[in-house]
Amino acid sequence: MSCNPAIGGLGKGQIVREIDALDGLMGRMADRAGIQFRVLNRSRGPAARGPRAQIDRRLYQKAMQTELATYPSLSIVVGMVDALVCESGVTSGVRLDDGRDLMAGAVVLTAGTFLRGVIHIGRKRIVAGRVGEAPAERLGQNLEALGFPVGRLKTGTPARLVRRTIDWDQLERQPGDSDPEPFSFLTETLSTPQVECRITRTTVGTHEVIRESLVDSPLRTGAIVGHGPRYCPSIEDKVSRFGDRDGHQVFLEPEGFDTDLVYPNGVSTSLPESAQERFMRTMPGLERVEIARYGYAIEYDYFDPRGLFPTLESKIVGRLFLAGQVNGTTGYEEAAGQGIVAGVNAALRSSGGDSVILERSAGFIGVMIDDLTSRGVTEPYRMFTSRSEFRLSLRADNADLRLTPFGMRLGCVSEERASAFRTRERETIELAQKLSRLSATPQTTRSFGIDVKEDGVRRSAMELLARVDVCFGDLIRMWPDLSHASVSARMQVETDAKYAVYLDRQNGAVSDYRARFASKLSPDLDYRSIPGLSNEIRNRLMQARPLTLGHAYAVEGMTPAAMTLLAAYARRVEAGA
């Protein structure tokens, strides 16, 4: 964890649950290492909620290492990769800087910010993958030489503060949830002790120091060419762009429960060290703060993700899969979401199986990969729930119902998870069926204080539950037998009932989309063989190599006429003509 030791959040928390549903490790490890759990938007509807946890960096690392050691077929080799072993556009392994070749049926590249990474602090420029670690220079060059379209992106991190030099007790508290909710569907209880975060603010004094120091900002001097994320600006960006504000919130988050390091969330910066120290000390509670490590901006290579199939295999080098910041994303969760799709497909590829694609309608991971591979990026890509047209169905609470069966078919889900899932699924379905069977007359319903119209029409328990003013507890009063239903099934069924009208419409949209766009196209299709396409569109399609009609439709410059031709072609191929 190079940046904030936190996992989850709005949109991101959903991704963690999706990874967990496919039996990825992130959620379970975060549960072991989490020191403050909070469901964001807890007061809003289930589709708006995102689980988040503050993580103890060391515990997380240890949990992950321990867990990985239990995988019998996994060997871990530490070394610097210099190049891909590559022949006629297909990779068969990697070459290390000590001259060794590691051969493989498929390679997954997750280089983070290490490809030709450069750290900026003020006017200082340090070649590094992250602070204190060497970048991957030769691998970056090797990939560029292979024809990967390289771009530069920028991200930043704040200084780390020494906890005992903070006047901690005078600051506003930000406690975790009193009833912490784990990430993993398999985690029963959380055993790591919980901590509190604190909140402070930048002041007019802070902004003055920052304005004075802007002349030395690498953003201003032109030293940084890569685009940084608009949604995660440095404090100098905030001050320049929102100069009218008299302060910005800063969250002080402990990096662990037995460490002295504190992460000040909201003041990422690349100003010179002296300026960092000065502006930190203008904030309440931080008057005597000591900095353990200075903040910095880092620029690194990424490759245009439109050069990837939605399986995350490269179109340029076969059997090579890319995931994470090399694809222009930011965030541990986004990286891990791609990692599991790339990993599953790499395993399928090397064992000769068919590759798989996660659709937009199946999960936020699918939304992300579709966005990346069809539209590319102009800034580090982060997940927001508003990126999905299916927000109401892609919830953190139902990630397992959406994806675990998919994982079971792929064979990437353990028997423990599969059997827990089958229980939960059965309970949920049975409860939903039961609620559809139970019904009551308006008179009976009204006698329980539920204000339904007296029209003589019996309403099912499910219909009642869809109302805003009815909760599961009301149903239990009407049908005491329902109190035997498990909490997980109750919550699932209630949410689906409350969203039913909208979910129905979305499901209709999904099946319409599938009916129109699901037809497959071969990635090796010679578009010159389809009469009627313009040369321009032909060239674009040859370059994009869409796997489905839907992907073709997302190709820039696509016309209705060309879509009609492609559809007719695809259907003819499907019919075997």
């Binding site: 964001l40 809003r44 708006a48 729930t385 109401l392 009627g532 209705p560 009609t564 031709l565």
Partner: protein, 436 residues
């Protein structure tokens, strides 16, 4: 609007014709014929004669020819029924309203038959090319039409609405996606409710003006009413410029509605002659009187004739224009517009009065361009969604409010001619003529 619905459309041009062909496509096509005819589904691709009944009342509608095509061997690839009936408006309307009453049966969207055919892979490459050409020309047409709309203000207006809506969405989504950032506050919810209400009021105003203007496009309906023998048919013939109505000196000559479409100095008007309203024992005349009454109710303007030799009519309403006829023989009371068929100037004055009434009914005319039903439907969809949006935001169900925003966005996108992703293919086919 589900793909699995059974759809129907009139495959022949609307209006008067000797025969009218209905096309019905979808899983229920066969069952519909069973219910309409009370007989089993005929052998596929064989033309059969069938009496057609209203399945609810049992009333016979017509006798027609039915051909059943079993999917996938049909134009759309689905079960398809072609029903040929007589072309009178009564038969066509009755059949359409019966079809509409079936569950999961609805009128086809523009181009939907072709889209279904396309979905079923019914085109070979050469046909697809021809269709592609057609789409291209339709796209060009659509583009030009969108430009024209822009020139005429509605496009600009819709773009403005979209920008407002964007602001609303921005507020909503920021609360949903960034509530942990500290800089996003609850005040935004109030702000967005206020904006949504402004937007709703503005769309409502435009929609209502559009409804009036659409009515004008379809013809401003002017009904000539009055006691028997007051001279309604004489006036009708003079305005129509030909002897369409039989005119005699006998009261009760006109027994049915007669109508003619006129262009009154650029304003399209549908002029309707009615039977004189009186109590009568003659069953035929009684039906005519009943029809006259309902024509008066649905009219945009009623020219109510009075004169010296008949009882003046007691009922009347704000849409009445009271006119004294036979002014050459009976002196009109002061203040009342008077006409005489000997005095062409008096007729010209009446025409002008009718035209003024028609124009003022339409509003100031600047909003007259949005007379397309498709636009009005889009506005209605937006209004409903904005109403729900407000309700949802007030009860803090923002994630559902966001869904309503998507609905409005999609609907308004259809007006300004620039579409979002999901609706695009639908729009492509919407440019095809119904029932192709």
């Amino acid at each position: 609007m589900a793909e699995s619905d059974t759809i129907f459309a009139l495959a022949t041009p609307p209006g008067r014709s000797a025969l009218a062909v209905f096309r019905i496509s979808g899983a229920q096509a066969g069952q519909i014929l069973v219910k309409l005819s009370g007989r089993v589904v005929p052998e596929a691709r064989r033309v059969v004669l069938r009496a057609i009944f209203d399945p609810d009342s049992g009333e016979k509608i017509d006798t027609g020819l039915a051909t059943f095509f079993e999917g996938p061997a049909s134009f759309t690839g689905e079960d398809l029924l072609e029903l040929t009936v007589h072309g009178g408006r009564g038969v066509v309307n009755a059949l359409a309203s019966i079809l509409r009453r079936f569950d999961r049966v609805r009128p086809a969207e523009p181009g939907e038959f072709t889209r279904r055919a396309y979905s079923a892979g019914k085109f070979d490459l050469s046909q697809a090319e021809a269709i592609a050409d057609l789409i291209d020309s339709e796209t060009e047409f659509q583009r030009r039409q969108a430009l024209r709309l822009l020139d005429n203000g509605l496009g600009h207006k819709a773009e403005g609405w979209r920008r407002t809506l964007l602001q609303i969405s921005v507020e909503l989504e920021s609360v949903l996606d960034f509530s942990d950032e500290g800089d996003v506050g609850e005040a935004q919810v109030k702000e967005l409710i206020a904006r949504a209400e402004e937007l709703r009021v503005e769309i409502l105003r435009t929609r209502d003006a559009g409804v009036r203007s659409l009515a004008l496009r379809n013809g401003f309906t002017v009904v000539i009413a009055g006691a028997p023998n007051v001279g309604k048919s004489t006036l009708f013939n003079m305005l129509a410029g030909s002897d369409l109505a039989i005119v005699t000196e006998y009261a009760g000559t006109t027994r049915d509605l007669l109508s003619v479409d006129l262009d009154l100095d650029g304003v399209p008007v549908r002029l309707v002659d009615t039977a004189g309203v009186r109590d009568t024992l003659d069953p035929v005349e009684a039906i005519g009187v009943e029809r006259a009454r309902s024509a008066i109710v649905s009219a945009d303007l009623v020219v109510r004739l009075q004169s010296g030799d008949v009882d003046s009519c007691k009922d009347g309403s704000s849409k009445d224009l009271t006119v004294w006829s036979k002014a050459d023989r009976f002196t009109p009371p002061s203040g009342l517009m008077a006409i005489s068929n000997c005095d062409l100037d008096s007729i010209a004055k009446l025409v002008e009065a009718i035209r003024d009434r028609a124009l003022s009914a339409v509003g100031d005319g600047s909003e007259g361009m949005l007379a397309r039903q498709r636009h009005l439907d889009a506005m209605t969809v937006s209004l409903d969604a904005l109403n729900r949006l407000k309700e949802l935001c007030l009860s803090d169900r923002l994630e559902l409010g966001a869904e309503e925003c998507r609905i409005v966005n999609a609907a308004l996108g259809g007006i300004s001619g620039s579409f979002g992703t999901e609706e695009l293919l639908g729009e492509i086919f919407a440019r095809f003529c119904i029932g192709k």
